[in-house]
Amino acid sequence: MTEVQPCVFIVDDDEVIRTSLSRALIARGMTVQAFTSADAFLRAYDDDKPGCLVLDYGMPHMTGLELQQLLAAQGRTIPIIFITGHGGVPESVQAIKRGAIDFLEKPFRQDTLLDRIRIAFQKDAQAREARKVIDAARVKFDRLTDREQEIAEFVVLNPATTSSKDVARALDISPRTVDHHRARILEKMEVKSVVALVDLCRSTGILGSVADRGGILR
């Protein structure tokens, strides 16, 4: 994968803000894309593009907060920095709770904005890294046969029951078959031990408890 320059997406209905902000960020060598409204951004945004969103909180039709909710609902993880002229405290708390990088009141210090953009970029990069691991694990898991997936799931969900006999009894198959499959599973999942398998599956969220599935990756 080639390294792409992360982009600062600006969404603000006030043209003056868009112009001046874009100008200042471009002057610092950043890639900037500006949109007049949340709708315009949604139409143009490509998930593959790394970057962050500098989002005006108060806009007609769809506010910044609404856009944040929409993106989260769609599983889009682009980091968001809110900027606002209103500075309403309740709204900022809600935005932060929902994962916003920060809630900056206009006019803000440029250093602060740049710092938050840097953090956002880092966070975006990390997220994209994590996603790559998960995707790889999933690809491997998908390669297992149905029986293998069944056995793998049982093993991951019941890590205490490790002996082949117990697994065979639980799944009503012969211990030998269990052994055979387990070897195949470890091979296909490219792990050396059952413990490593459980760790991989749980950390990527492919298999695991319901609570675990609600993690940040899924």
Partner: protein, 768 residues
């Protein structure tokens, strides 16, 4: 000038008496005269009839005699040729009829027998003409009453031939009995008339004519015997106008041109009255007309009545004319007339005097009442004093009068007490000069003058110099109007200014001419002070509302300010970075220019804000409405944008109105904010607010039109403490209404299909 009842009564009573007496006397005179005149005419008519009867009775035996004689001759009872026998027959006829003058017979042979009355040798005389053997012999024979011969003689000189006489020829020709016109008999010189009747032989040829002479002087004597009043007369006129009978027989005959006698004509008779009365009839041919004529005429100043009878018959073509002096009948009355008039005048005078006394007697209580009323009106007599005996009507009038006077005194007393003791100052003012005629204690007290001092002053002296004109105009005002009180400034004695509520009523006489003005004043200075305080409180309240509204708008206003500040900081950052970086190619000018623009934008907003929060001490000023609307909308832009509402305006530039700028801005901001909230709460699809101003001649109407949902039925948006907002107090529109109405305008709400219209009017500035 009204007529006195006494005089009227006297004149009426006396005059009526006089008129009544005069009328009775005059009418009785006239009717009695008319009755007597009618009686006279009847009398004259009767006389005529009598005369006719008399004449007929006188003449008809003659006709009977001739017819008898001719029949006897025809039947040869007497041999017509036997003259002696004929003489005897004629003698008998003559003796039987005393009015006959003579009876005679002539035949075709020229023989003639004539027996007539005589006064000579015997009472009768016979003339016999006979032809014997060609010899004519005339014998005259006188006889006594018994036909005894008295004497006879021959008259050889006689030449009389009956066949040549008119009576013979006429009767022979007509073969009928004929009457001659009256004529004067030759022998007797008396007026008379002859009847002749033809005698036929066996072959029906004329053998002779028998005749009778009748003297009609007896008719005249009959006429003379008639009593027609005292001086009335009747006469008989022949168809040719001859007077053939007259009471004075000597008048009817005259000598003709041959020395004989003839009748006088009516137009030459010696009776001047008859001549004057009937002479004209001869010329006009009126004699012997068919009807009876009755009329009057005047001769020598004396008035006569007359009657003319129609002709008696064709055979007797005589007209009876009767006349009599009117005085014969009404003379007595006429002579009585003067006496009657004097008596009537006397009675009228006496009754008139009695009427005057009666009138005075009737009038006396009325006069007494009039005097009493005058005394009462002068206050010298109390209306409750006993009334002298009088009429029932006057008694009632007196009761009414007493009541009215009591009422008047009561109302005078009421007015007087009201005037004197009113808590308000009251004064009667001379309309033209403003001079104070009467004033109560309170009036002087208000101005700080003693009661007697104020009477030397005029309203002009009391008015504030700037208010003098209007004050006087009001005092001399038009019709009284209870609402027409005005507040004006006046000066007290020590020169301090008072605010007075002044009400003026013009009192007019019956013709509408002003008598005086009643001016009522009340010191309202303290009320004025209170009003000022209330106005100040109102302004404070309005200001508080404005500040409160601003506090609600603080967030969006902060945003509105933060936007340009953010732009500026960003631009500055970019510029600084560009300057520090090694990129000299960058042009800083557009960045700086934009920053300047944004700085002004922020400044404008701050100015609007400051203006909006000013305390308005100036009540009214002229200002540009479009500018104010722009400025007000600037304050709302951020709030509108956040709520996704488009706010636009269509206002003609330079429209100037009069009022408190900041308060009108308050109204505008309030209305537009309401619109924004309504749209925001509604999630409406159309999200517009349009502010327009329509400029009329006298005022401008500003409309704020939003696409919000409007109000539920029955909701009054202008009522206090009524609101549809979650956190509203319900005071905003109420305050807006107060503000607009204080400016002399109106604030109202209209709803069209999809839009709510809040409109208000403002008076336009007079000078532009």
């Amino acid at each position: 000038m009204k007529v006195s009842l006494g005089l009227l009564l006297a004149v009426c009573l006396a005059g009526l008496q006089f008129l009544a007496v005069t009328f009775v006397v005059f009418s009785s005179y006239l009717t009695s005269e008319r009755v007597l005149l009618d009686h006279a005419r009847n009398l004259l008519s009767d006389v005529g009839l009598n005369t006719i009867q008399n004449a007929r009775g006188f003449l008809y035996p003659a006709r009977a005699a001739t017819e008898l004689a001719s029949q006897l001759a025809e039947n040869e009872v007497i041999a017509s040729h036997d003259l002696e026998l004929l003489e005897k027959l004629l003698f008998q006829q003559l003796r039987l009829s005393p009015q006959f003058a003579g009876v005679y017979y002539g035949d075709e042979g020229g023989n003639f027998v004539y027996v007539k009355r005589d006064t000579g040798l015997g009472p009768f005389r016979t003339k016999i003409i006979k032809h014997v053997e060609g010899q004519r012999e005339t014998e005259l024979i006188w006889r006594d009453n018994k036909y005894n011969l008295v004497r006879s003689s021959l008259d050889p000189n006689d030449t009389f031939d009956p066949r040549l006489r008119p009576w013979y020829q006429q009767a022979a020709e007509e073969k009928l009995a004929i009457w001659t016109d009256p004529y004067i008999f030759f022998t007797s010189q008396q007026p008379g008339i002859s009847v002749a009747s033809p005698v036929f032989d066996q072959d029906g040829d004329i053998s002779g004519v028998i005749g009778v002479d009748i003297e009609i002087s007896d008719i005249s004597r009959f006429l003379a015997s008639l009593e027609i009043g005292e001086n009335g007369r009747a006469l008989i006129i022949n168809r040719n106008g001859d007077v053939i009978a007259h009471p004075d027989q000597s008048l009817i005959s005259t000598e003709d041109e041959n020395g004989g006698q003839r009748f006088v004509s009516i137009d030459e008779i010696g009776d001047p009255v008859a001549r004057a009365a009937f002479g004209g009839m001869l010329a006009s041919g009126e004699i012997g007309q068919a009807g009876e004529t009755t009329s009057t005429f005047v001769v020598d100043g004396e008035k006569y009545v007359y009657t003319v009878k129609p002709r008696i018959s064709d055979v007797l073509p005589w007209t009876i004319a009767v006349y009599a002096p009117e005085n014969d009948f009404i003379g007595a009355i006429k002579s009585n007339r003067v006496a009657n008039i004097w008596i009537a005048a006397g009675i009228a005078l006496l009754t008139g005097i009695a009427g005057v006394f009666l009138a005075l007697w009737i009038y006396r209580p009325v006069e007494a009442f009039a005097v009493r009323s005058a005394l009462i009106s002068q206050g010298e007599l109390s209306p409750s004093d006993p009334l002298p005996s009088t009429y029932a009507e006057l008694e009632r009038v007196n009761e009414t009068l007493v009541h009215e006077i009591a009422e008047r005194k009561k109302s005078q007393r009421e007015y007087g007490r009201t005037f004197d003791f009113s808590t308000r100052g009251m004064a009667q003012v001379e309309p033209e000069t403003g001079l104070i005629l009467r004033a109560n204690a309170r009036f002087g007290e208000i101005f700080g003058y003693e009661a007697n001092e104020i009477l030397e002053l005029s309203l002009k002296d009391l008015c504030h110099p700037e208010d003098v004109e209007t004050f006087l105009n009001q005092a001399a005002g038009e019709e009284p109007n209870t609402d027409d009180s005005q507040e004006r400034r006046c000066l007290t004695r020590d020169g301090s200014v008072l605010w007075l509520n002044i009400h003026a009523i013009m009192i007019r006489d019956d013709n509408g001419e002003p008598l005086h003005a009643v001016v009522t004043i009340e010191n309202v200075s303290h009320i004025k002070e209170k009003e000022k305080e209330i106005q100040q409180l109102n302004r404070d309240l309005v200001h508080t509302a404005r500040v409160n509204m601003m506090s609600h708008m603080a967030t969006s206003l902060a945003h509105e300010l933060n936007q340009p500040l953010t732009a500026i900081t960003q631009n500055m950052d970019a510029a600084l970075h560009m300057m520090s970086a090694e990129a000299p190619g960058h042009d800083l000018e557009p960045i700086l220019r934009e920053s300047e623009t944004q700085a002004h934008r922020a400044g404008d907003i701050i100015r609007s804000l400051r203006d909006f929060l000013l305390k308005d001490e100036v009540l009214k000023e002229d200002f540009d409405l479009s500018e104010l609307i722009e400025q007000s909308l600037q304050l709302l832009r951020s709030e509108a944008r956040v709520n996704g509402v488009f706010v636009g305006s269509e206002v003609e530039h330079g429209t100037r109105v009069k009022g408190s700028r900041v308060q009108i801005a308050q109204v505008l901001v309030n209305l537009v904010r309401n619109g924004i909230e309504a749209i925001a709460d509604d999630n409406a699809r159309l999200r517009d607010i349009l502010v327009t101003a329509k400029v009329g001649d006298k005022d401008a109407i500003i409309s704020v039109v939003d696409t919000g949902p409007g109000f539920a039925e029955g909701f009054d948006p202008f009522a206090r403490f009524e609101t549809t907002k979650k956190d509203g107090m319900g005071l905003g529109l109420s305050i807006c209404k107060t503000i607009v109405e204080a400016h002399g305008g109106k604030l109202w709400f209209e709803r069209s299909d999809t839009r709510s219209h809040f409109c208000f009017s403002l008076p336009r500035a007079t000078k532009e």
